[in-house]
Structures are given as structure tokens and as C-alpha cells.
């Protein structure tokens, strides 16, 4: 142990400001990087999940629409719905 008391340790031989500035800024930057990386990961996952939910809603809406238009079950297949959903997302953007 290089220091005899806690006060002496904090004082850092007179260089307290510079030493603690260095350690503090480094710790803050690393913690910021860590937290922002974690939250970025969560945001990306959420966005992907949300887009799927939106897609699902659009599919349901498209199916109901087709039934209203008088299409019968065998005519409403996955391909037609997907095409309709793609069309409606294109219109939105």
C-alpha cells in the first residue's frame, strides 16, 4: 500500500484533480458506451418485432377486405395476401 490514509489516497500526492479527472472521464465514457450498446441492441430487436406485428395487422386487414369484395376461401391464399400487404406498405411510404 502506497498511501497511509484515505485522505492521502484522495489527494494523490497533489495531483488529485488530474488523476481523478482521468479515471472519472474514462469510467464515464466506458459506461456510456456500454449502456448505449445495450439499449441499441434492445431498440433493434423491438423494431424488428414491431414491424412483424404491423405486418400481421395488415395481413388480417387485407384478408377481411378480400372477403368483403366477395372472394371465396380458396381464392384467398398466402400469395395474394402478401402481394396486397406489400402494395399497401408501398402506398404508405
Amino acid at each position: 500500500m502506497q498511501f497511509h490514509s484515505f485522505a492521502e489516497f484522495i489527494n494523490m500526492g497533489g495531483y488529485a484533480f488530474y488523476v481523478w479527472l482521468s479515471y472519472g472521464v474514462s469510467a464515464a465514457l466506458i459506461v456510456y458506451l456500454l449502456l448505449s450498446s445495450i439499449s441499441h441492441n434492445k431498440t433493434v430487436l423491438q423494431q424488428i418485432a414491431m414491424r412483424q406485428k404491423r405486418e400481421q395487422k395488415l395481413r388480417q386487414a387485407a384478408e377481411i377486405n378480400m372477403k368483403k369484395q366477395g372472394l371465396t376461401e380458396p381464392e384467398i391464399n398466402d400469395e395474394i395476401i402478401t402481394a396486397a400487404v406489400q402494395q399497401s406498405t408501398k402506398d404508405n411510404t
Binding site: Q2, L29, N41, L45
Partner: protein, 269 residues
């Protein structure tokens, strides 16, 4: 020869591999950093000329070395992606850039805080400091290019070319203290052969260096996985993963709020 590497070209395999590695890297880095920094702050002797300001060294030098190391790794990944079109190499380069930028900033700031008491100035436009600042700008440019294009392949190409051009800065940083007159001291630890430093100072430095390396590896894993997800968002395995994570998150928030909304009997008292 590289057959064992081949399965990792699959994004899902890489994603899972990094997911397994990540918690261990974080644990190991925590252990090393706690030991190294406590040693550096409490037990390492003060320098006979610089006194206790020398303790900045234990952050400054690992950060500076690793900032250059990350740049080299990023440029290698960029080369692999430009030459062989490895899409995952692009993702890893994009993952490394912000981490390198943060460590370059740490090296610059701790250097300034060390320069003020030792040299009498926070900043001076000499070769080592200026070339290190250029390294920071290179990182910022690479990050900006990765975010500048909607098309990630195009963004990766542009950022990759910039990172390859920027490699020229690495030898300039390293040899700047020999080629030009500078306030910055010459190499002490990165000299081939014996470092010009006593063992009682060298050991805590090595442990800090290892700790920061593992921390960077863990952060790269985390950011790489995010990049892989964002770039493969239409793949079934990513979609399934996203839905599952949303579900488990809702369950957690549900448990903490006692789930009033899902239990209709509770509201009709």
C-alpha cells in the same frame, strides 16, 4: 485449412457464438480491471519524477494501444469485406468503430490531463498528439459513413475504403515520437525486447491492458450481434428472436405490475 472457420460465415452461427462468449468476456474483463486498477491506484509505486500523476499511465497507455489495435482489426475486417465480400466482416467493422472512437477519446483526454501537470499544457500540436487526434477523426468518419447510407452494403464499402486509407496513420502514430521532436516521451512498453520500466509498474499495466482488451472484446461481441440482427432483420431466425424477446420483456413488466390488464376479474369488485 480454414474449414473450421467456414460455419461462422453463417450469421446465425456467429450470432449465437458471440452470445455465448459475451458474458464470459465481461466477467473476465471485470476481474482483470478490478485487480489491475486497484493495483495501479493503491499498490504501484509513484514515479520518482512524476509522483502520483503517473497513475494516469495505467489508463492512458492501454487505451492508446488498444485504440490503434481496434483500428487495425477494423481495417482488416474492412479489407476482408471489400476483397472477399464477407458480409459479417462488414458488420464487425461497423461494430468496432464506435468502440475505437471511445478509446481514442479516452487516450486523448487522459493524455491532456497528464500533460497539464507534467508539461504545463493540456494540448500541444505536436506529432503524436495530432496524429492521435486524426485517428479520432478517422473513427468518426467511419461511423458517419456507416450511418450515411440506407443500403448497408454500400455504407460498408464507403466506410471500408476510408478505414483502409486511414491505416497509413497507424505507423505515423507509432513512430511520431522518433521521427519528430515532440514533448511526448518515447516508447516504453511497446519496445521489442525488455521494456524500460520496472516490474512493479509493468505488471499492473499488463493486467490493465488485458482487462481493457477483454472489455473491448465483450463490447465488440455485443455491438456485432446488434449489427447482425439489423442486417438480417427479414430472416426467420431474427424475426423469431425479436418476437420472443418482446414477449419475455412484456412478461417481466407484467409481473412487476401484477398484470391488472390481463386479469378482468380483478377490476370488477
Amino acid at each position: 485449412m480454414f474449414k473450421w472457420l467456414h460455419p461462422y460465415a453463417n450469421p446465425e452461427v456467429s450470432y449465437n457464438f458471440c452470445g455465448k462468449l459475451q458474458p464470459w468476456l465481461f466477467r473476465i474483463s471485470t476481474i482483470f480491471l478490478v485487480i489491475g486498477l486497484v493495483w495501479a491506484l493503491l499498490f504501484a509505486p509513484a514515479d520518482y519524477q512524476q509522483g502520483d500523476s503517473f497513475r494516469i499511465f495505467y489508463i492512458h497507455v492501454p487505451a492508446a494501444i488498444l485504440a490503434m489495435g481496434i483500428y487495425f482489426a477494423m481495417a482488416s475486417a474492412a479489407l476482408a469485406s471489400l476483397v472477399w465480400q464477407f458480409k459479417l466482416a462488414d458488420a464487425s467493422a461497423a461494430a468496432m468503430a464506435p468502440i475505437g472512437a471511445v478509446f481514442t477519446a479516452i487516450a486523448l483526454i487522459t493524455g491532456a490531463a497528464w500533460g497539464k501537470p507534467m508539461w504545463g499544457t493540456w494540448w500541444i500540436w505536436d506529432a503524436r498528439l495530432t496524429s492521435e487526434l486524426i485517428l479520432l477523426f478517422l473513427y468518426l468518419g467511419v461511423i458517419a459513413l456507416h450511418n450515411a447510407f440506407e443500403d448497408k452494403n454500400l455504407a460498408g464499402k464507403a466506410a471500408g475504403i476510408l478505414s483502409l486509407v486511414g491505416v497509413i496513420n497507424l505507423p505515423i502514430i507509432h513512430y511520431s515520437v522518433e521521427w519528430w521532436n515532440t514533448l511526448h516521451q518515447g516508447a516504453t512498453v511497446s519496445k521489442l525486447g525488455a521494456p524500460s520500466m520496472s516490474a512493479v509498474m509493468y505488471w499492473p499495466f499488463l493486467i490493465c491492458l488485458l482487462g481493457f482488451s477483454f472489455l473491448i472484446a465483450a463490447l465488440v461481441c455485443l455491438r456485432f450481434r446488434t449489427e447482425v440482427l439489423a442486417r438480417n432483420s427479414m430472416r426467420p431466425w431474427v424475426r423469431e428472436l425479436a418476437i420472443n424477446s418482446l414477449r419475455s420483456e412484456q412478461q417481466i413488466s407484467c409481473n412487476s405490475q401484477q398484470c391488472h390488464s390481463n386479469n378482468p376479474n380483478q377490476g370488477t369488485k
